[in-house]
Subunit: 358 residues, 2 copies
Amino acid sequence: MKDNFCIIMGGGIGSRFWPFSRETMPKQFLDFFGTGRSLLQQTFDRFSQIIPIENIFVSTNEAYAHLVREQLPELGDSQILLEPTRRNTAPCIAYASYRIQAINPKANIVVTPADHLILQEQHFVSNIQAGLKFVGKHPALLTLGVKPNRPETGYGYIQTDEVGDKNLQKVKAFTEKPNKELAKVFFESGEFYWNAGIFVWNVQTIIKAFREHLPDVATRFDQGLPFFNTDKEKAFIDDQYPICQNISIDYGVMEKAENVYMLMADFGWSDLGTWGALHDLSEKDDNENATLRCQTVFYESSNNVVTLPENKLAVIQGLDDYIVAESDNILLICKKNEEQRIKQFVTDVSMKYGKKFV
Amino acid sequence: MKDNFCIIMGGGIGSRFWPFSRETMPKQFLDFFGTGRSLLQQTFDRFSQIIPIENIFVSTNEAYAHLVREQLPELGDSQILLEPTRRNTAPCIAYASYRIQAINPKANIVVTPADHLILQEQHFVSNIQAGLKFVGKHPALLTLGVKPNRPETGYGYIQTDEVGDKNLQKVKAFTEKPNKELAKVFFESGEFYWNAGIFVWNVQTIIKAFREHLPDVATRFDQGLPFFNTDKEKAFIDDQYPICQNISIDYGVMEKAENVYMLMADFGWSDLGTWGALHDLSEKDDNENATLRCQTVFYESSNNVVTLPENKLAVIQGLDDYIVAESDNILLICKKNEEQRIKQFVTDVSMKYGKKFV
């Protein structure tokens, strides 16, 4: 147990849920379903059941450090790893791994996004425990794969070598988000799993993998070996992190490494990556309207997802298949099937109004 | 000039513009077009050009007295006539007329709603001046008629005896809001004018008309003759007003009287009675979207009227012909051609949530 560590990646901007999620208050810090706990807090709650609290690290942007401190007062300052700039997941994970190695060179680590939704917590806990046990014995890079229940086009997929329900399978390939036809093929083949972006490995295994597949990143961090977990770490990171390669762990390591295994996960999972996914997961009325946090009264309306600040009421007549989201000083009304354009809307708004509304 | 008086009726609830207009902040107190002056203030501004400020009276409900005081600090407390209960326009006008008679028995009075929109102020001023001059010489009940520019179904009409552009015409009949076919006939005949609900008369003429056509109301106020404009007036009004007949001046007096004339008005006028009217009158973008008070960015959207609090931004995609209105803790999204149902929505909301959202 004391060798188990966790890295919660909480530096994202979450612009897909704008204006509900904002640059100053991204998705992971929001209480999407009005449960009283933000997605980050829920992630922490899950891991605190299996990992000593002092072994839980949150990596985030300096801009969000105060939000992490506020939401997770259980963490000491040294457990919040500050990225001076955004450099995607590979440098983020490398930094956390080198830090953890300096604390415990035998560490087994779970790496997880801060902003995913897990419905069946007990299943999740046993999956993760099985994974930690495995990587303590084998020099494997473990990625969690979720058995698809529909031909989803919004996720990347993991292809495994064998068909079947074996809990641990050798990974054959990672694939990008497929189009509709391909998603259907993936779904029906039984060989493909959703890539949940949750990883489990021993600290030595991942650092070795960095040295092998991302030598640019590894060399840089190797120079800092004397500084990790000392008062010189911050200066070193502030100096070196910004000039690290901007690359994801999937692209930089997982797709290149040989020793990659998939742990089949059977907890209800969503990356909450789209309003559509959020709509699917939410409680809905008889007309498939989902209301998050606020009150609503609908007339001749269906398939909408509506979120306003708590204590607000929306009275909606004659609206089908829309997103209605309000936060602070912005109201968005957008057809659900046009939601991929929201990022462009944010860009347009910031071109027109500067920083005022983003 | 010193014989000219004005009664601004400002006691309405304005539920048609809910939630923009609220029971606690009705339409007349709102700055619809972001000009910096509410409709009540604009009404006051128009009359203060032709009527001594000390001769301007605002009648309102006790609940709104503080709003009138705030918005019109020019008025002394005695110029705000408080109706203890809502009793429609006839008792309201009777009360103000008896008060004004006690101050100046030769008074010529303009009676006007507080919440109409007048676009051409100079025309309005000369129309009113002509009316005041006329009623100073003739015992006539004058009502302002607006030459229709379209077959509007949202207004009552005045039929006159003669076709033509004579400024003063004898009224033949008042009609209720017509259906589409009838509105077209009215419009094309040239005999019909929109009833603007603005009246001009001498105080003796209107009190005589009350005695003749609404003796119930007149008898009651006649008993109070010694009290008007004294410190006993309030007790008298609080006692008698609530048991007055609940009836409009149109139905109770104008439709029955013989000496009714119409002054043809040629200022741009709207009672701002509907969102549709508001949309018509507002500045619009190339896609006929009207934005009031807030900022908006539209994509594939047309014919909408959007009003959010100042400093708010609405990003709207794929919406045609809707009302989007937010105020305080309520957002309304409703098809423009369903706006007559808004009163029902308010009732539904108050059934469901009590006083919280009305």
